[in-house]
């Protein structure tokens, strides 16, 4: 019954979208959003009440799964995540009302947005229906992978989608601006603000994924240049470029064509990333199962929107103006953006070319060292230019305010320093210990006090209780080796310790005999990196607040 209701709402949403496209329903965007909220609500209800008549709930849930992860499980699977995707896209569409656009502009925007929503709703219905039903509902589900049952991972996808879909706003705004030849300063400012919003969410989403990988999966590693990670980073880079170029256009009125292109690029790259990831073509830790139908449908969707964007760009050209000589400050910024573009190209080649080559000679993979040899060197010029460019501008009496304005950039530098230090000073030690033994690992004094068994909601664990002896005192902590009985899988729950600006990760494994294997990973000064990333996000939020205030003042 629930599934039928959900699917009915999905078909209703599609019909409302089609009607809205041609006949402009008043408050059509609100109606569609409400339908999607209803659909999501039904889907969530099915997950929370263990309704195994829905295939999705059966495949990804279990009666003994904790409530938080039943809720997070709604977006943990492909179908559920696409449902959330459609919902968030619709919410962004509604948020366009806040921009108070002129009515003709708004109706073109609505048309394009509804068309985009419709593409995704078609995809949802034909390729990833969350309301697919089983005739005879089983009594128990197959459970979500326990490795994914983690708090930071549960909020990671929604942030990613809010970020990725956030780029639909500058995308749509620039397309509509081209069509209506409206390149007023107000539009550029709106492009700037919507890009900031999208970038804030995307940075947070990527950061959450890194944090999760750091203590749960990577054992101290927080970035692997995994194809899926790269495909999230490419829109981020394009978003950063778009942000800065839009800023130049806003302040100087130049580079309008570049501004339009750099505002369309992030969203289009998001579509391409989505296609590559969900089609299952990539070999990665984030793998989705290979699904040709999904891949084909998404490819058609992406190609359609890329083609439409190119067509609109060519059909409604911006009239060229007299060439204005770039100021040196702008030149520096454009050079930096140029190198960031190159770094994005290096990422794209490193992610897509191996895929391409794999068709010809199967078994070709690219070692992640490639990215260290290309991405990092290409970022050196921008990082050198940045302090120089800032120093040129901070020459007024407004030192305090300037520091605040450059919070994100300061965060970036902090992060780079943290990354450099923690990578060069990284250390690892593995040893075999018995209960009561005290050893030196990575120059840290560690004692295994006790071992006991722990019974969790859907797992059973062997837990090691440790004591870390520091100059400042003692730290007691636990690390576990867990066995999830529902999936018959083993999982290591590491301990993460803060020691000043550094962090320690401790892994604990029970050996077949009476000993235990303990591994300590030391990451000196990595807190600089994490704080740097957080500062980058705070800087973006601060930037948003100040610009919205300015907008409110002018109204």
């Amino acid at each position: 019954m629930t599934g039928l209701l959900g699917e009915g709402l999905l078909l209703l949403s599609i019909c409302v979208c089609i009607y809205h496209l041609f006949f402009k329903l008043h408050y059509g965007d609100v109606v569609i959003t409400l339908c999607l909220v209803g659909m999501f609500g039904i889907f969530l209800y099915a997950h929370v009440t263990d309704d195994f008549s829905l295939v999705n709930v059966y495949q990804h849930s279990h009666t003994q799964k904790p409530l938080l992860y039943k809720i997070a499980g709604t977006w943990g699977s492909h179908e559920g995540s696409m449902l959330l995707w459609c919902l968030l896209l619709s919410v962004y569409h509604m948020s366009a009302r806040l921009l108070r656009l002129p009515s003709k502009f708004q109706s073109t925007l609505t048309f394009l947005f509804t068309l985009l929503l419709l593409s995704f709703l078609f995809f949802l219905y034909m390729g990833s229906n969350p309301f697919e039903r089983l005739l005879t509902p089983p009594l128990e589900g197959q459970d979500l992978n326990p490795v994914l049952q983690d708090f930071s991972l549960s909020i990671h996808p929604p942030h990613l989608y809010l970020g990725t879909l956030g780029f639909s706003m500058p995308f749509m705004l620039s397309l509509t601006s081209l069509i209506h030849k409206d390149i007023a300063r107000e539009r550029i400012r709106q492009l700037h603000i919507t890009t900031i919003v999208a970038l804030s969410f995307l940075t947070t989403g990527i950061l959450l994924g890194s944090v999760w990988a750091y203590y749960e999966l990577g054992w101290g590693g927080w970035w692997f240049f995994d194809p899926v990670e790269n495909l999230a980073l490419i829109p981020w880079l394009l978003g950063v470029i778009g942000l800065h170029i839009t800023l130049i256009t806003f302040k100087k009125g130049t580079h309008i064509r570049l501004c339009m292109i750099s505002n369309m690029a992030p969203f289009l790259s998001c579509l391409l990333s989505l296609t590559l990831i969900r089609s299952g073509l990539l070999n990665s830790v984030h793998s989705f199962a290979l699904d040709e139908k999904r891949g084909l449908l998404l490819s058609i969707l992406s190609v359609f929107w890329v083609a439409l964007s190119v067509l609109i760009y060519r059909k409604y050209p911006i009239p060229s103006r007299a060439v204005v000589e770039d100021k040196p400050g702008d030149k520096l910024l454009l050079t930096a953006m140029g190198f960031i573009t190159f770094s994005a190209i290096a990422l794209i080649i490193g992610t897509i070319l191996p895929l391409f080559l794999d068709f010809f000679k199967s078994g070709i993979t690219l070692s992640h060292r490639y990215f260290f040899e290309t991405f990092i060197p290409l970022w050196i010029p921008p990082l050198v230019i940045l302090p120089f460019a800032i120093w040129r501008r901070v020459r007024r009496r407004t030192m305090g305010r300037d520091i605040l304005r450059h919070t994100s950039h300061i965060g970036l530098f902090l992060a780079v320093i943290g990354i450099a230090l923690s990578s060069f000073l990284h250390d690892e030690d593995t040893c075999v210990m018995k209960v009561g033994e005290r050893r030196q690992l990575c120059h840290y004094d560690l004692e295994l006090l006790n071992v006991r068994t722990v019974n969790g909601p859907n797992y059973k664990a062997v837990q090691g209780q440790f004591c870390l002896y520091l100059n400042s005192g003692e730290k007691h902590f636990e690390a576990e080796e867990r066995f999830y009985w529902t999936q018959e899988s083993r999982h290591l729950e590491s301990a993460l310790l803060n020691t000043g600006l550094s962090q320690l990760i401790v892994l604990f494994v029970k050996n077949p005999d009476t000993t235990y294997t303990v591994k300590v990973i030391s990451k000196p000064f990595i807190m600089l990196m994490w704080s740097g990333f957080v500062l980058m996000i705070l800087g973006l939020i601060l930037s948003f607040i100040t610009r919205v205030k300015v907008l409110k003042k002018s109204l």
Binding site: N145, S362, G363, I364, E373, P377, T430, L492
Partner: protein, 136 residues
């Protein structure tokens, strides 16, 4: 005239940077290609002396032995088997009968045992073992 020169030099600088970038990318790409093979391919194509090998296969049942933090097992693909040695903590999803990928090289002296520096055991959203079939 001066403007033309400036424009030309800007374009030239851009082209140089682009050229440099693509050379950088091309070289890095070429140097970091790794071939993902099966145990049978290792012996068929005589890859024992390769410095970087990635081999995918299944952990043979009842072949896993532990000596403290040293682990040995046999990696099989139904045709050939390779003895693998790994020092450290095995990844969480590692168990007998599981599909894994090992990275490393054969021991330089005898070339009989594979010393793995990395072991990857992964599975996707819907677990489906990925077993490459060696050419028959």
């Amino acid at each position: 005239m001066k403007l033309k020169l400036k424009r030309f030099s800007t374009l030239f600088a851009i082209l140089c940077c682009m050229g440099g970038t693509f050379i950088l990318i091309g070289l890095a790409f070429k140097n970091n290609i790794r071939f993902f093979v099966t145990p049978a391919q290792v012996y068929e194509e005589n890859l024992i002396h390769h410095t970087h090998l990635r081999i995918g296969g299944v952990v043979q049942e009842k072949s896993l032995l532990h000596k403290g933090i040293n682990h040995t097992f046999y990696l099989i693909d139904g045709i050939m088997s390779i003895p693998v040695k790994y020092t450290g903590i095995l990844p969480a999803l590692f168990k007998e009968g599981q599909t894994v990928v090992v990275e490393g090289h054969f021991d330089p002296e005898k070339g009989t045992e594979f010393m793995a520096h990395t072991i990857l055991a992964k599975h996707d959203e819907n677990y489906k073992p990925l077993l490459k079939k060696a050419p028959s």
